[in-house]
């Protein structure tokens, strides 16, 4: 339903096309095309349906997967932690009772919900996609409006396939130019968050645009949109293009044949019109972006890899200075020192930010022919069973295993301290995940966010270091 003829943003178009009804106070009943469900935020929602005697309105638009609680070691054994086991068993009971399609733990397609959705062609351009998880923003890379919701809203979508929503503001981030050697989507996103801050996107949906974004493959765009949430935004978006369409084509749940052509014709209309109004616009030059790493406990605490750890004295605002001091203390870092050269204990390559085949390939390029430094525990956790299989078919597992990495099963793993993969207090980790909050990877754990290539470089040198020094001439 187009509301006016004035130029519209990509967000406006998807929004307008999903309005079921506009209520008197401006709230919209928004139709939801895809509802992804995982074991942690859904139990009370299903319970609510059961108590009210309501069915799931559209099981055929809903997909469930287990990821947060699952161990990433040997899956043939029962899950040890009773509360984790209960959440998983509860999901299994719920999907059976309500007829919701489900990828079980032992399925080759199981994986992190935000990896599985696009990979299966469940998440498609032009859709509205929700999940009881903030990193649902990942799916915006498809050119879809995708955002996280709470448990009451999960129940609302299960029952009605809609949500009561008010429109967000529009923000556009342009990244123009060509990125340099060793610079990945992760570095672009860290640079964006470093520029606008973790509250910069509050109340907005961010559309990523510009030539450097067009040049990214789908995995890179997913990394970018994934961390929109760390920039404070409700969602991230990339306008769908030929890269998107060729990614989608042939995926198990993508439209086929004529339906695909019909879909493509529609998807091609999904770009912001010339002259569309953005409430906020930001531009970065791709050439200015270098391999980056975080030093503190907020994703905006980002440094170029050759940067210097800040000092509280650099900040006029006493509250800010105190926060910097607190982060330095927690992270066990010295103000004024180079971040490069800091020894690490653990390297984690995984999470819905960076666990796709492209991420593993870029890490393997650095690792090939090298060995994990002594005293470093290095782990690779593919984002899904299918990513794992594909990597094995390419022989990447062998590169990692020969180098001394652990090669694990798919899941959220060390991205959050909910399953057995955790940092111990004081351990320092180069991590490809998205949050470096205190205790996020385990109580007392110290997280440095970076790209898969940078993490791989830290694994083989044993210290945070500049990946560009390890990149070999192409043979």
């Amino acid at each position: 339903m187009q509301v006016s003829n004035s130029p519209r943003t990509l967000f406006d178009k998807i929004w307008d096309d999903h309005i079921v009804e506009r209520l008197e106070d401006g709230t919209c009943i928004l139709y939801i095309d895809r509802h992804l469900v995982h074991e942690v935020t859904s139990p009370q929602a299903f319970e609510g349906l059961r108590l009210a005697g309501r069915p799931v309105r559209r099981p055929d638009a809903t997909v469930a997967v287990v990821d947060h609680n699952v161990p990433t070691s040997d899956r043939s054994k029962p899950i040890e932690e009773p509360e984790s086991r209960l959440q998983i068993e509860t999901l299994e009971r719920n999907v059976a009772e309500f007829g919701v399609p489900y990828f079980p733990l032992l399925s080759a397609s199981q994986g992190i919900v935000h990896v599985v959705g696009p990979e299966q062609g469940i998440s498609l351009p032009g859709m509205t996609i929700v999940c009881g998880d903030s990193h649902t923003s990942t799916h915006g890379a498809m050119g879809s409006l995708a955002f996280g919701i709470g448990t009451s809203e999960v129940e609302h979508v299960l029952a009605t396939q809609t949500l009561l929503q008010r429109p967000a503001k529009n923000m556009r981030v342009f990244v123009e130019g060509k990125t340099g050697v060793g610079v990945t989507a992760k570095d672009i996103m860290l640079a964006i968050i470093g520029r606008i801050g973790t509250a910069g996107g509050t109340g907005h949906v961010i559309e990523f645009a510009g030539s450097a974004i067009r040049d990214l493959d789908m995995a890179g765009r997913m990394t970018l949109c994934n961390m929109s949430i760390e920039a404070g935004a409700r969602a991230g978006l990339v306008s769908p293009d030929e890269t998107t369409f060729s990614y989608v084509k042939g995926r198990p749940f993508a439209p086929k044949g004529e339906a695909f052509e019909q879909a493509c014709a529609y998807w091609r209309t999904l770009a912001s019109d010339d002259g569309a109004h953005f409430d906020t616009e930001v531009t970065l030059r791709a050439e200015d972006i270098v391999p980056s790493i975080t030093w503190g406990n907020s994703p905006q605490d980002v440094l170029p890899v050759d940067g210097i750890i800040p000092s509280p004295a650099d900040f006029k605002d006493p509250a800010q200075a105190a926060q910097v001091q607190r982060a330095l203390d927690y992270m066990g870092l010295e103000a004024g020192q180079k971040i490069a050269g800091t020894p690490v204990d653990v390297v984690f390559i995984g999470s819905c930010t960076n666990s796709r085949i492209e991420d593993l390939r870029s890490a393997a390029d650095i690792v090939r022919g090298r060995h994990v430094a002594p005293n470093v525990r290095a782990m690779i956790v593919p984002g899904s069973g299918l990513v794992k299989r594909e990597a094995e078919a390419e022989g990447l597992d062998k590169i990692f295993l020969d180098a001394g990495f652990e090669w694990r099963e798919a899941g959220c793993s060390m991205c959050l301290g909910m399953n057995p993969d955790r940092l111990t207090p004081g351990q320092r980790c180069a991590s490809t995940s998205n949050r470096n909050f205190e205790g996020r990877q385990g109580p007392g754990g110290r997280t440095h966010l970076c790209s898969p290539a940078m993490a791989a470089a830290a694994a083989v040198t044993g210290v945070l270091c500049d990946v560009r020094e390890l990149i070999r001439e192409p043979v």
Binding site: V20, V63, I122, M127, H156, A159, T162
Partner: protein
Amino acid sequence: MDKFTQLTAIAAPMPNENIDTDQIIPARFLKTILRTGLGKNAFAAQRYDGNGAERPEFVLNQEPYRHAEILITLDNFGCGSSREHAPWALLDFGIRCVIAPSFADIFHNNCFKNGILPIRLPREICEMLMDDARQGSNSRLTVDLEKQVIIRPDGETVSFDVDPFRRHLLLEGLDDIGQTMAHDDAINTFEHQASRAWVPSITMETTK
């Protein structure tokens, strides 16, 4: 959500201010996968001793108040964390109505979402109703949401205010979901638009 029209029930007096959500349901009980089943741990710290035995002095451990469906208390009930587990615990215990001079905002909202009627009344009236409640099983209060009155054991009435929209939802037993479901025709029409023909269905067979 169950309708709330008229309730005649035992009321339990809790003459304290600032009863927070941590008291209503302590944090260690939040790991549940259910909204139900929290009632046995409602007010756990006051209700049980270190060995899990009931403390006889706590009002909800006493007859007839262990059957209470109305709670009468003092200022700022439900302050603290936003946990929806607090109204879930009260409801599961059997409480359908809380009467107090004031409520914490989020808790107040959460009550309506879960079919609990929170009633704000001046402190003197709350104390008067608490005295009624202290008369035990012979003293039932009737809360009539349609007429917006509380009928005391002696037949006297006390009227109260309530937001008309929320009153409507409670009387009809409608939650947000129920509200949206009233727009079912519009949702159906939306779903069947020709322009949406490309959107594929996901079926059980295909995920195997």
